[in-house]
C-alpha cells in the first residue's frame, strides 16, 4: 500500500507463540479454583460411585478401584483437554470474536491453533495430576510405581494432546449453533467406550464391544495408564498404545488445524 523498501521489523515466532500462550495461562490462572471444580467434578463422582460406593456395597470385586483409577486419570486428561479447546474456540470465533487480535499477531495462523492444543493439554495435565490427591482421599490409596513413571508421563502427555486435537476438530468443524448437540452426542459415548471402567483384554467375551472400543483413542490412554500403574492387570501393550495415540494425534491435529485456519481466514 505504501512505498516499498520499508524497514520491516523481523518477527520471532517463538516469542509471539509464548505471548499468545501466556494470555491463556494468565486468564486461566486467575480462575484456577473455578477451572478445577469444573473439570474434576465428573471424574470425582465416577471414582466415588464406582470405586467407593459399589465396592463398599460389595457389587465390585476387591481391587477394582485400583483398576478403575488409571482409567479415570486417563478420562480426566482426555476429556478436560477436549472440552478446553472445543467450547472456548466456538465462543471466541463466533460470539466474542476476541481471538481476532491474536489472529492478527505476526505468527502463522497454524501456530495459533497449535497454541490452543498445547494450552488445553496443559490444563488437562493439571487436572489429571489433581486426581491423585483426590483418589487418595476417596479410595484411601492409589496405585503408583516409580518404575512406571516415564511410561505414565508419556501416555498422559499424549492423551492430553490427542484430547485437545479432538477438541480443535470439533470446535472448528461443527457449526457454532450445533456445538451443544454435538457435545452431548459425542461426550457420553466417548466416556463409556474408552476402557476407563474396564480393561480392554477382558472384553473378548463381548467381542463386538471390544471392536467398538478399539476406535476410541481414550482406550489407549486408559490401557497405557494401566500398563504404567497396575501392570498386573491385563492390558494392551504400551508400544501399541503409543503408536495408536501418535496416529490419533496426527489425524486430529491435521484436521483440527486445517479447520482452524478455515475459520480464521475466509
Amino acid at each position: 500500500m505504501s512505498a516499498p523498501g520499508v524497514d520491516v521489523p523481523r518477527t520471532s515466532a517463538p516469542g509471539v507463540f509464548l505471548a499468545v500462550l501466556w494470555r491463556d495461562v494468565f486468564v486461566t490462572g486467575r480462575e484456577l479454583p473455578v477451572f478445577l471444580a469444573q473439570v474434576i467434578l465428573q471424574p470425582l463422582f465416577m471414582l466415588f460411585v464406582f470405586g467407593k460406593v459399589l465396592s463398599s456395597l460389595g457389587y465390585t470385586r476387591p481391587g477394582y478401584a485400583h483398576l478403575l483409577f488409571p482409567g479415570v486419570v486417563a478420562l480426566t486428561a482426555l476429556l478436560t483437554s477436549l472440552q478446553s479447546t472445543a467450547l472456548p474456540l466456538v465462543l471466541e470465533f463466533s460470539f466474542t470474536k476476541e481471538i481476532e487480535d491474536r489472529l492478527l499477531a505476526p505468527i502463522p495462523t497454524a501456530l495459533v491453533a497449535v497454541e490452543k492444543i498445547v494450552f488445553a493439554a496443559m490444563r488437562a495435565l493439571i487436572a489429571a495430576i489433581f486426581m491423585f490427591p483426590i483418589g487418595v482421599l476417596i479410595l484411601g490409596s492409589v496405585p503408583w510405581r516409580s518404575r512406571g513413571a516415564p511410561e505414565f508421563a508419556v501416555i498422559l502427555v499424549l492423551g492430553a494432546l490427542v484430547g485437545s486435537a479432538m477438541g480443535l476438530t470439533m470446535g472448528t468443524l461443527v457449526p457454532p449453533n450445533r456445538i451443544s448437540i454435538a457435545f452431548s452426542l459425542v461426550l457420553t459415548p466417548l466416556l463409556f467406550t474408552g476402557c476407563s471402567q474396564y480393561p480392554w483384554p477382558t472384553l473378548d467375551r463381548l467381542r463386538w464391544f471390544q471392536v467398538v472400543t478399539a476406535f476410541n483413542p481414550l482406550t489407549y490412554v486408559s490401557e497405557g495408564m494401566r500398563g504404567a500403574l497396575v501392570p498386573g492387570v491385563d492390558h494392551i501393550r504400551p508400544w501399541v498404545c503409543v503408536v495408536a495415540l501418535l496416529f490419533s494425534l496426527a489425524v486430529f491435529a491435521a484436521i483440527g488445524i486445517r479447520g482452524f485456519i478455515r475459520r480464521a481466514i475466509d
Binding site: 505471548a19 487480535d101 492478527l104
Partner: protein, 314 residues
Amino acid sequence: MEGLVKRYPKSPVNAVDGVTFSVERGEVFGLLGPNGAGKTTTIGILTTRVRRTDGVARVGGIDVTRDPVRARTQLAVVPQRTNLDRSLSIRQNLIFHAAYHRVPAAERNRRADELLELFGLRDRGDDKPDYMSGGQSQRIMIARSMMHTPQVLFLDEPSTGLDPAARLFVWDRVRDLRDRGTTIVITTHDMDEAATLTERVGIMDHGKLLALDRPEALTRSLPGKTTLEVALAGADGNMDAAVAALARLDGVERLEQLEGSGGQVRLYVAGDAPLMVAPVAGALSGFGITLSDVKIGEPSLEDVFINLTGRALR
C-alpha cells in the same frame, strides 16, 4: 493493490471485483460505499484475514498473501464490531496486544499508560470491556491498535453507532495519527466522514471501484457546481409543466425530482445558485406555482454516488 478479486464459495458474484488502488504513505484514504459494496472484504484481504481469489495486495510493500506474518507487523485493524478480549481488563488488552507484537515489557507499560491518558480512559484501565459503551470500546480498540505503532491503520466503519461527540473524538485521533505519519484507510458509508476526514476517497459499489479522487475533485466533477433545492407549492395540475420549464432555464445543467417528496426539485446550476432564485420564481409564477422553500448547497459525495450509480447511498 492491483486487480484484486474475491469470490466467496457458493456466491455467484465477486464480492470484490477487480479493484486497483494505492495509498500514499501518511495519507488518509477513504473507501465509501453502501453496505455490501465490498469495502470490508477489501479491508479483510489487506489485513490477511480474507484470502484473495486473484490479484495482488501489498501493505507497506509486503505481499499480504505471500508473507502474511510480516504484513501483520505493519498493520493494525479496528473492526466494526468490538472484538476486545473480555477476559482481560482494558489495560491488559493493550498490554497483551503489544506482547503479541513483541513490544518489550517496559515499553508496553509506558505506551499503555500514555494511550489510556490520551484516550481519556486512565480511570477505566482496570475495568472489563463488558462494561464499556460502544464509543468507549471503539476508543479502546483504536488505542490497542496503536500499541505496536503500525505503519498502516485500517478503520472499518469507525463511527457507525457513535454519538456525535464520540465521533468527533475518533476523528481527532485519526488526525493525530496522520500527523505522526501513519497511513490510514477508512471504510465508511457516511459521506460527511469521507469528505471531512479523508484526503482521497474511492467510491465502491458491487465490488467495483467506480471513482477515486480527492473529495473536492469528485464533487467538482459533477455536472453543475452548486445545487438549488426548491419546494414547489400551488396548482398540482401544472406541476409537470412547471418542472419542465425549470429544466429549460438558462444555467440549469441538470434537474432532479427528489423521491417521495412531491414538489421537491433539485437543480444543478452552472453559475451562482443564489442568482438563480429569481429566474426560477419567475418561471413558476406563470404556472400559478410558488416557492415554499429554497435551499442552496454544494454538491456532496452523496450526489457523486447518485450520479455514478443512479441510486442513493443509504
